[in-house]
Symmetry: C3
Subunit: 368 residues, 3 copies
Amino acid sequence: MRFKFPLMAIGLEVAMIVLFGVFVQYENVQNSGQPSNTSSPAVMNSFFRLYPLFQHVNVMIFVGFGFLMTFLKKYGFSSVGFNFFIAALGLQWGTIIQGLLNDHGEKFHISIHSLISADFSTTTVLVSFGAVLGKISPIQVLIMTILEIAVFNGNEYLFAEIFQATDIGGSMVIHAFGAYFGLAVAGILYRSNQIWEHHNKQSDIHSDLFAMIGTLFLWIFWPSFNSTLAVPEEKQNRAIINTYFSLAACVLTSYAFSSLVERRGKLSMAHIQNATLAGGVAVGTCADMEINPYGSMIIGSIAGIVSVIGFKFLTPFFATTLRIQDTCGVHNLHGLPGIVGGLASIVVIAMGASDVFNSKVTHLGTAT
Amino acid sequence: MRFKFPLMAIGLEVAMIVLFGVFVQYENVQNSGQPSNTSSPAVMNSFFRLYPLFQHVNVMIFVGFGFLMTFLKKYGFSSVGFNFFIAALGLQWGTIIQGLLNDHGEKFHISIHSLISADFSTTTVLVSFGAVLGKISPIQVLIMTILEIAVFNGNEYLFAEIFQATDIGGSMVIHAFGAYFGLAVAGILYRSNQIWEHHNKQSDIHSDLFAMIGTLFLWIFWPSFNSTLAVPEEKQNRAIINTYFSLAACVLTSYAFSSLVERRGKLSMAHIQNATLAGGVAVGTCADMEINPYGSMIIGSIAGIVSVIGFKFLTPFFATTLRIQDTCGVHNLHGLPGIVGGLASIVVIAMGASDVFNSKVTHLGTAT
Amino acid sequence: MRFKFPLMAIGLEVAMIVLFGVFVQYENVQNSGQPSNTSSPAVMNSFFRLYPLFQHVNVMIFVGFGFLMTFLKKYGFSSVGFNFFIAALGLQWGTIIQGLLNDHGEKFHISIHSLISADFSTTTVLVSFGAVLGKISPIQVLIMTILEIAVFNGNEYLFAEIFQATDIGGSMVIHAFGAYFGLAVAGILYRSNQIWEHHNKQSDIHSDLFAMIGTLFLWIFWPSFNSTLAVPEEKQNRAIINTYFSLAACVLTSYAFSSLVERRGKLSMAHIQNATLAGGVAVGTCADMEINPYGSMIIGSIAGIVSVIGFKFLTPFFATTLRIQDTCGVHNLHGLPGIVGGLASIVVIAMGASDVFNSKVTHLGTAT
C-alpha cells in the first residue's frame, strides 16, 4: 500500500514514454497533412498565432481550476497539488488516446491543435475532480484520470464523427460530461453527511481570496478556451466576442440572484466564485455561431441565474436525498450550464442562425 | 431596500441586452469601415495580433486592480468582488456609450479596438473605486459605474475630437480623471476619521502578499495597456519599450525614496505596492513619442518619487484637513503621476520629439 | 548606514539613465542590422510575434520567481519585494552590459531579443537570490545584482562566441551558473545553524499556496522561456513542444519520488513546488534539437528524480557539512537539473540528433 502510488505513477510515466516513442513525432512540412505545395511557414504561422491562446488555456487548467478549488481551508493544498498532477498526466495520456483514435493506430504528429485537444481531455477530469475533492485517494485520482480521458475521447469521437455534431466550446462534451462523470464517482465515494458538512463549511477570508485567483483567470481566458479550435478565423473571432459578453452578462445576473436568495441580501462567496463562470460554459456550444452579442448575453444571463439556483437548492438536495456530495458544486458550474448550452444550440439552429450545415464539421481532434 | 441592488442589477442587464440588440453587430468585411477592396484577413490579422494585448489588459483589470486593493484585511473580498462586478458592468456599458458617441447613434460593430476602449472606460471607475473602498454601498457602486463611464466618454470625446489632443496611455483622460472623480466621491462619502484610521491600519502579511499579485500583474502588463491602441506598429513598439523602462526606473526610485522617508530606513509595503506603478501612469501620454528609453526612465524616476512623497505627506493631509479619505491612495498612484504625465508631454512636444503634428490624431474610440 | 541603500539605488538609477542616454536607441528600419531592402514590417512582425512570449518570461520573472520564494512565512514579503527590485535593476543593467559586449562599445538598439536577453541576465540573479534569502541585506542584494550580471554576460559571451557552444534554454549558462554563484554567496553569508533551521521550518498552508502561484506560472510559461530565442521558427516550435512534455513527465516522477522518500508516503510540499520544474531546466540545452517528445520526457523524468533526491539528501548535507545554507533549495531546482541538461546535450550530440553543426550558432545577445 505504501508504495502503490509511487510505483503506479512511475509505471504510467514509463508507459507514456514508450507510447510517445512508438507513435508520436513532430509536425513539419512533410507530415503536416497539408497539400505538398504548402510551405512550412503556413504550419508555423498557425502554430504561433494559436500559441498565446494555448497558453491562456494552460493558465485556466493549472492556475484556474487549481485555485478555484482552494476555497476549502482544509483541502487548499490538496486541490492545487492534485490538480497539477492530474493535468500533467492527462495532457500526456490525452495526446496518445486522441492520436490513436484519429489516426487509427498509425504514427501521428504533435500540432498546436493536438496540444489544445489534450488540454480539453484533461479539463473533463478536473471538472470531475471538483465533485470528489476531499473524498478521493491519490490512487483513485490516478485511475479516474486514465479512465475518464479514455471514455471522454471515445464519446467525443462518436459525437463528432458519427453524429456529425458540433460543440466548439464543449458545453456538453466537456463540461456536462465532466460534471456528471464526477457526480457518479462522488455517489460511489459517498461519506457520512456530518463529516462532509463539517469540512465543507470551513472556508476563511484567505481561502476565499485564493479561490478568486482561480475564478478570475478562468473568467478572463474563457474566450480563448471557447474559440481556440474554431476555424476559419471569422468564427474564432465570433467565439471570442460571444464568450466575452456572455460572461459579462452572467456576472450581473449571478450577483443579483445571489443577493436575492441569500439572507439579508448578502452576496455568497461560492456564487461569486462559481456562478459568474457559468456564462462561459453555457455559450460554449454556439459560441462560433452568428448569435450576435445580445444573443450570447441572454445565454449568459440565464446561465448565471440557473447556476445560483443550483447552488442554493440543488446541491443540498443532492447531498441529503441523493447521497451525492458535490464538494465544489461542479453540477452548478459545469453540469446545469452545460445543459443550458445544449438547449441554446438547439434553439439557435432551429432559428437558422448557425452556418453549421455549410461548413465542414471539425471536432477537437481533427481541426487543422 | 432589501431587493434594491438585485433588481437594479437585473434591470441594467436587461437594458444592456436591449441596447446591444438594437445597436451592436459583429465586425466583418462589409462593415469594417475599411476600403471595400480590403480583404477579410486584414481585419482578422489586426484582431489576432492585438488579442494577446487585449487579454493582458483584462488581466490588469480583473486580477491587477482587484488584488491591488486586497491589502486591507477587512475589505479583501469586497475589493475583489466589487472590482469584478464593476468591470463586468463597465465593459458592457462602455461599449454602448462609446459606439453611440462615435457613430452618432447608428448601429456600430464590435472590433478589437472597441473591446479595448471599453476596458479603458472601466479602468477609470476602478481607479475611483480605490478611493472609496470601505465607504461605498453596492447600490452606490452601481450608480457610480454608470455615471462615471458616461462622463469619461464625453470628456474623452471632447479631448480627442474637439481639442485634437492625444493621450495614448491615458495618463490624464483615464488615470488623473479617475483619481479626481474618485476623490470627489470620497469627499461626499466622508466618515468619521477614527473609524477610517482604524480600518486602514489593518493589513497583515497575507493581505500584503495578495496585494502584490495585483501590483505585479499590473506592472508586467502596463506596456500592453499603454501601447494597445497606438498605430502604426512602429509607435506601438515604441510605447511598449518606453513604458517598460519607465516602470523599471520607477521601481528603483520608489524603493529608494520609501527607505528615505520611512523610519529607520524600512521599506513601506504601501509604497512597494503602489508607487512602483506610477511610472506606467506617468509615461502614458508620451509613450508613443520619440522620447528615447532614457527619456522614459527620467519620467518614471520622477513619478516614483512624487508618488512616495504623496503617500507620505499628501494622503494624511487630505484625510485630516480636506476631509477626503483616499482608501487605497489612488491620488498618489493615478492622480499625481497622471499630472506628471501631462506635464511631461508638454515638455516633450515643446522639445519637438513628438511626431504628433504629422500623424492623424486617433483616440480611444476611433483607432482602426 | 541609514542612507546607504537609498543613495546607492538613486545613484545606480542615475547611472543607468546616463548609460541609456549615451548608448541606447530604438530599433527601426535604418538600424535593425538587416539588409537595407528589408522593410520595416519584417522587424515589427518579429517584435509582435515574440511579444507575447516575452511577456510570458516577464510573468515568470516577476510573479513566478517572486512567489516561488514566499513559502517561508517569515520572508514572504521580503522575497517578493526584493525579487521585484532585483528584476527591475537587472533588466536595465543587463541591457547595457549585453549591448556593450556585443556591439563593442558602440551605440546599440533595443530589440525584442535584447529585452529577452536582459530578462535572462536577471534570471541568474533571481536563482542565486533563492540561495541567500533571509541572510542577505538590501545593500548586498544590490551589489550581487550588479556583479553577477556582469560576470554572467562575460561568461555567456565566452561560451557562445569563443567556444561556439549553444544552450538555448540556458540549462548551464543561466540555471547552473546562477545556482552555483548563489551557493558561493550563501557559503560566505553562513549563519549559525540553529537560527537557520528555526526560520526554515516555518511555512504554513497559506504560504505554501502563495508559493504554488509561483510554481504554476513558472511551469506554464517555461516553454516560452526555452524557446523564445530559438531561430528559425521550426526550432522554436520544437523547443516549445520538448519543454512542455519534459515538464509534464517531470511532474509525475517528482510526485512519485517525493512519496517514496517521505515518511508514510506523504508528498512533500517543497518537492511539489520545486522538483516539478526541474524538467524545464534540464531540457533547456537541447530543447531546440530533434530529440523527439519521448526524448524530452526521459530528460524530464530524470530531472524530477534527481531534484527530489537533492532536496532529501544533498541540502541537509550542504547545510551541516559544507556550511552552505541553500534557503530555497536552488541547487536542487537549478544546479543539479542544469548539470543533467548539460550531460543530456552531450549524449544527444553524440547520437547525432542535433543539427547544431549545420546552423549558425546564435547566442543570447546576437539572435535576430
